[in-house]
Symmetry: C2
């Protein structure tokens, strides 16, 4: 997920969600993970926009990407200059129209923005879970969201929506809870990671776990492997963009500041400055152990099964789908998106594949793009 100046945030036509507050859903019952391990208490932090109608059939859940969170629209104060990460997409009259839909976005279980994750206190020990936190899967994320929906009185979703890791959650939703989803919209995603995606994730994990400040995951709150996490983020961030997008934005532009002797490996090119800033700001808002758990959940996600086909996993699907790939996305290439829809059509399910020619790489799904707004608006309203 990109929170940066490389993309023009723009906005779809429509009004603003405005001031929002997050809430915490607390389940005091044990939450059992797919692995069989459990935690005694689950907190899921979330936001909602718009109102649930009487029939309770207008709810949409938005699933966030690896570095995203529950704050996808609106601002926390009137002076808050940074709205939620999909603010341009979500609001009254916007493609995800909060005047028609009750929109929910929650921080995934395992996260570090308020939901229970490795950095949370284990009530049984009074200490942080750290690596005692159970192994995490995309199905666990979805199961926690289902509990939140129960709490909110939402039975069947009008739609589940997500890009990247959020798109994987959307696919998991229609498999784990086929009767609870009318529509799914999956963007810039895939039903499994390629070897290259695993390779990048493992390199990022190595940057973190070989940082001496990682301390086998047992670093104190507010401390941790800052250098390793920043490097992991810099590398990952490159994979979210595209060669052409970076060339258009930065090329070989240099920083105007004069470099001093001794600054031999200090920032020189604009693209270096941009990336190092991305790395540093990520360290300030994200937890390294969550990064490890989330990337492993992504690498383990695989709907293809032993026969290397998606048909068995998708056989239970009832929802209608729209899957959108982006031509310049080389982390989750168009082919992996297309194969989802090809499998659905083989199975006689209703599904549409759209491929958008945009230069922003994997992060294209987060970019101001009228063509995407149009696709999403029509899909949600039909």
């Amino acid at each position: 997920m990109n929170d940066s100046e490389i993309i023009d945030p723009g906005t779809a036509e429509g009004g603003e969600v405005g001031l929002v507050e997050y809430q915490d859903f607390v389940s005091e019952a044990p939450f059992v993970f797919e692995s069989g391990d459990a935690i005694p208490r689950l907190v899921i932090r979330y936001e909602t926009y718009g109102h649930l109608n009487k029939a309770a059939d207008n709810a949409i859940i938005i699933c966030h990407a690896l570095s995203g969170d529950h704050h996808c629209a609106g601002v926390y104060s009137l002076t808050d200059r940074k709205p939620g990460w999909w603010n341009h997409m979500v609001g009254p009259g916007k493609p995800i129209d909060t005047s028609r839909y009750f929109v929910i976005c929650s921080n995934c279980v395992g996260g570090c923005q308020g939901s229970t994750g490795p950095g949370s206190i284990n009530p049984e020990t009074g200490k942080q879970y750290n690596l005692d936190f159970p192994e995490l899967t995309v199905a666990d994320m979805v199961n926690a969201q289902a509990l939140l929906l129960d709490h909110l009185g939402v039975g069947r979703l009008h739609a589940v929506i997500g890009g990247s890791m959020g798109g994987m959650q959307a696919l998991q939703w229609i498999i784990s809870y086929p009767e609870r989803v009318a529509r799914y919209l999956a963007l810039a995603t895939g039903a499994r990671h390629t070897a290259q995606a695993i390779a990048f994730n493992d390199t990022g994990r190595q940057a973190i776990i070989t940082d001496p400040d990682w301390k086998n995951g047992a670093y104190a709150a507010g401390e941790g492997p800052a250098h390793g996490l920043a490097v992991a983020r810099m590398m990952a961030h490159i994979t979210y963009l595209s060669d052409k997008g970076m060339e258009n934005k930065f090329g070989r532009s240099r920083r105007s500041r004069k470099r001093e002797a001794g600054d031999r490996f200090d920032v020189e090119f604009e693209v270096e400055s941009y990336l190092r800033y991305q790395g540093q700001s990520f360290v300030n808002r994200f937890d390294a152990n969550t990064y490890l758990y989330f990337t492993k959940a992504l690498d383990h996600f695989d709907l293809y099964g032993p026969e290397n086909r998606l048909d068995e996993a998708f056989s239970v699907v009832e929802a209608e789908g729209l899957v959108v790939g982006f031509t310049s996305d080389w982390l989750y290439p168009p082919q992996g998106n297309r194969e989802i829809v090809e499998a659905m059509l083989r199975l006689g399910k209703r599904a549409t594949y759209a491929e958008l020619a945009m230069d922003f790489g994997h992060d294209s799904f987060l970019v101001h793009a009228p063509e995407l707004y149009e696709l999403i608006t029509r899909f949600l309203h039909r």
Copy 2:
């Protein structure tokens, strides 16, 4: 440069170079870098294969890539299981035919395999240069090679050959010493780095310089930022391959070894095992400061000039050229290779561009490939 099992080393038809020894060329005169800084003494380690003819017009210099060295063909002992890095290309009867040509390969200045570099002892202080080593450019590498050729009695080269960073040296050769080169062969290269290539390099440098064992470059010989260098290498290695190549070789195959509890982030997929091995073996043979200096030299290399054209830089070129791009090379994409030849043709120079469809990414130039052998053989003999 790839020294790994992902590529089939294969070999061109022909004989073996066999037993070889390296030699050191020592220049006791100060070596002045492009920056104006100088070192009092220059050592260049090199190997030669074949014999210089009486006319001294059959010499070929091979320029190595970032992590390569002077040992490009032959073995050091009869039990040496690992021949030089381009052994399949260089030998009697092979495309770079040592029965016809006198082939030279030297370790670049700034390197860590015997030539003077940041890890060498400064004779004026008795201590390692470390970051006191002058800023390094591709032109410096070529200037040091020119001194070596003087020493060897080679005036004009039959050809200069190189891939990747070696290709940049080939381009620099025909600009710095137009009268000394009859032919250049540049593979998988470019006349400048893209923003994306700079971004990857800077991320690798950050991995190294934020490793506490880097110590601002002043680590002791045999010590250093092993973790950071391994991460830099893992990441770079991904950029040398291709998505398809990695998928074909590894896919999502898992290691058969059973993982223990507590091994949560230990090797799980084959591709992780492969990359971690690449990272570790690199640490054992390469110096972190050289990695910093070489990557900066690459990032600074830019023949396009202020008008964003290659024409001015190439106006002095006399040599005939063959430039080869590879379809799956996304680090030095085909377009950047093609533009070299387009500029040469605009200027009325003799140059040919060939684009080979191979799945091995940037490392394709190091792979057993009869089509490439054919191209090179014919180009060198004409």
